[in-house]
Symmetry: C2
Subunit: 472 residues, 2 copies
């Protein structure tokens, strides 16, 4: 009997497992999951911490029991410790009993996810709370309802850090955001991110930029404050200690790195992004091993380079593509029919009453990738200017000089604008130019903007600034 082993039971791994089982019903499909949940929405964790979502299992799309009903073998609290490629065996350990075991495979799906970045600062190992897994989210939520917490420091002012700080503020706690950067939300350009920082501060959240954590101040066996030091552009302030940040809990939201240790130890190729290198069917350089989700590399369609974008959308698609390819391998029917085309970097979020979207390249990313670009910024209303509560939005559009090809977009507004980024995502996918974009039949009615969509106003501006034709 064919045997598939999947390391990791969250979105990517579980999707691949289900796809293999559905395609090859008589295969034994074993999912190894180190935690206690499967197929959950990691993106929902901040809403759990905020109390918007009350039950942790509401975030679970498919429980271990449901997966078992569909015929999967699910081993919880089971860590993979090594991959023996020659012997086609995954070595495992039960996290609770310490018991070791082994899982032979014909095909292996590597879906180990990512691990949170934690600064090597004394005390953080004890008092730092990562919020990466559902187990950790539940632990933080339970910790916050304890009476003795009034101040929380959040390390990292990316979207998860801000979401959590907002959640803490919503619970009536004092929150301080600490970030090394000069601006919050490095996934946006600084001019767009500044709009968000203003709102974060308005919510009463303290924002400490250009600082990094230097240590933890204790009071008995408890955390009392976080010490920080200034980082900077080489000026005098570098390394200088700043005012300590009062905090009984330190939340770590510094992003996460693809978890590739097992893969690297087994000699699988790692891509330039630091994630496991795969082909367009998510197969590694071992024909029996696929990598999917946060630990796997995707091709960025605008730079042509490997990229590691840790999002549930990609995890789900990776899982389907890998599952089909692994199933085809098991049945000897060549390669799977689906390929993963790559990513353009789309992301949306809602923070502090603002909606935010981005796709393609930011100016910072384009510069880093050596992609020639021109950016235009347009401000406008969300609804027609004469409507009550017309709202405001700022959009930024990047285009390539010479060709006018759309390279990326960013949008921030105080109403429902985030999903409008998808128009630019499609433009990036198919190679639309600003000249074409400005003439497309995008929808309009007074509750939704002006007769020229904001993206088209930006496209027209880009056409003009780049000296392209037709300039309307």
């Amino acid at each position: 009997m064919a045997r598939a082993v999947v390391i990791g039971g969250d979105a990517a791994g579980a999707t691949a497992a289900v796809r293999i089982k559905d395609s090859v019903p008589d295969a034994e499909v074993v999912v190894l999951e180190k935690g206690s949940w499967t197929s959950y929405s990691a993106c929902g964790i901040p809403y759990l911490v905020a109390g918007d979502v009350e039950q942790a299992d509401a975030l679970v799309a498919r429980s271990p029991a449901e997966h078992r009903e569909r015929g999967l073998v699910v081993r919880l609290h089971t860590t993979a410790t090594a991959i023996d490629r020659e012997g086609r065996v995954v070595h495992t350990m039960d996290a609770e009993t310490g018991e070791t075991g082994s899982e032979p495979y014909d095909v292996l799906v590597y879906a180990t996810g990512a691990h949170p970045r934690t600064p090597p600062v004394e005390g953080l190992d004890q008092f730092g709370v990562p919020v990466h897994t559902l187990d950790e989210g539940v632990a933080l939520r339970d910790r916050l309802v304890a009476r003795d917490i009034s101040h929380v420091a959040v390390l990292g002012a990316g979207y998860i850090g801000i979401e959590l700080a907002e959640a803490l503020a919503q619970r009536g706690l004092s929150a301080t955001l600490i970030d090394r950067g000069e601006e919050v939300m490095r996934t946006l350009d600084a001019d767009m991110a500044a709009l968000i920082r203003e709102r974060v501060i308005e919510l009463g959240i303290d924002v400490r930029l250009g600082e990094e954590v230097a240590g933890v101040e204790r009071e008995g066996d408890r955390c009392r404050a976080v010490r920080t030091r200034r980082v900077g552009s080489g000026g005098d302030g570098d390394g200088a200690e700043a005012e300590p940040v009062r905090a009984e809990v330190v939340v770590i939201a510094l992003g996460s790195r693809p978890r590739v240790d097992l893969a690297r130890d087994a000699g699988l190729a790692i891509g330039p992004s630091g994630a496991v290198a795969v082909d367009e069917r998510m197969r590694t350089d071992d024909e029996r091993i696929w990598a999917v989700g946060d630990c796997a590399e995707s091709r960025h369609l605008l730079t042509g380079r490997g990229a590691n974008v840790q999002l549930g959308t990609h995890a789900n698609k990776h899982g389907k593509v890998a599952g089909l390819d692994a199933a085809a391998f098991l049945t000897g029917s060549g390669r799977g029919e689906a390929v993963f085309p790559g990513v353009v970097g789309s992301a949306v979020t809602r923070l502090c009453g603002l909606e935010i979207g981005r796709t393609g390249l930011t100016e910072r990313e384009a510069t880093a990738a050596g992609v020639d670009h021109r950016a235009v910024v347009v401000e406008g209303t969300i609804r027609s200017g004469y409507m009550p509560d017309a709202g405001w939005a700022r959009v930024k559009l990047l285009a390539e000089p010479g060709t006018g090809r759309v390279l990326g977009g960013q949008i921030v507004g105080n109403g429902p604008v985030a999903k409008r980024i998808d128009v630019v995502a499609v433009w990036c996918h198919v190679g639309t130019t600003v000249q074409e974009a400005q003439m497309m039949d995008l929808s309009y009615a007074p509750p939704f903007g002006g007769a020229w969509d904001l993206w088209q106003v930006a496209a027209r501006k880009a056409v003009g600034q780049l000296g392209l034709s037709p300039a309307l």
Copy 2:
């Protein structure tokens, strides 16, 4: 000195006039406008009637005075009565004084708009109120605040009719919608439109489908009721009188026909849609005459046929394209640099708390145009299912058997979903297939849906139903 004459001072005409003046500053540009406003948002009229917008001039993007400041000659209350192509003269009449005149031209832009369809029913000429121009919108609004109105009949259950009925209900009036069709909103397929009818009825608006106006009942010099008769599929009920609809005012919202009489009298070609035929630079078959806006034909990119879509988005683009081409003609520099690529039929609206979007072809339209298609319908939530107020949305996606090319989409939901139609609009523009669509990097976060965008869920379903590959 070069002389341009523009018949019609609303979005399309005024945009063309401005574009000509900007391109050829020493040209004399004369705008003939039969009403008292220029460059206003006709789409905003229902919000004026509803009282959301209080001042009529809020709907005016650029007043006659502003146009004059930019160097245009604007003649209000001036009707064009004939076009003498040989003599290159437009004959005019002052609507107030009856004085006639003539305007010689080197180039002429025909932007006469559309005129409301009015059934040839005795009494409607006296009591029927069209709501097509801003003047008419103001008149209706002023009429409604009079004390003696309690019941209003609205002829036509398209989006303008429903918007007006909702506006009337909002003002505390009893409104009855009367439509010949079997369902409201013929711009959507009946299964989608049914969702809107349910909400219209919930708002207390009476809906009379399958009926048409047959007459008006008077009480002295006032209207008391509208008589209707049943129309149908040839059954017994045809022509039978139905219960009269009590109404002191009868609003006519039966759509409008392109106003082509002057053009036809002048021998200009009329297209299959009934609008003035133009090339892709909006030029008619007379090299000195362009037609733009509601009176002009556009190419429908999915049927390849001429289409008459009366929307401000197209009017604005038409005006720019024609203005550039007319300016190029005046300066002897060949053709204008811009072309109007055509329309895909995008439209959005908000009715009775629902947001609605459509683009491409509906099933009804595809069938009428002989376009082979398959439709899939998907229902889901607007936000992730575990979020508070997850909302609901229904989407419908049409694709071409064999190729999988996206042919159209419709969306209805009880939250901010209308502008999501633009993704499908772009797909229709560029010829994306459902196989490609399902793998695109569309954005996701819990406040905005699931990890698979609803359009992608629909695309996957279409791939499966059409037997295409890759089936995920």
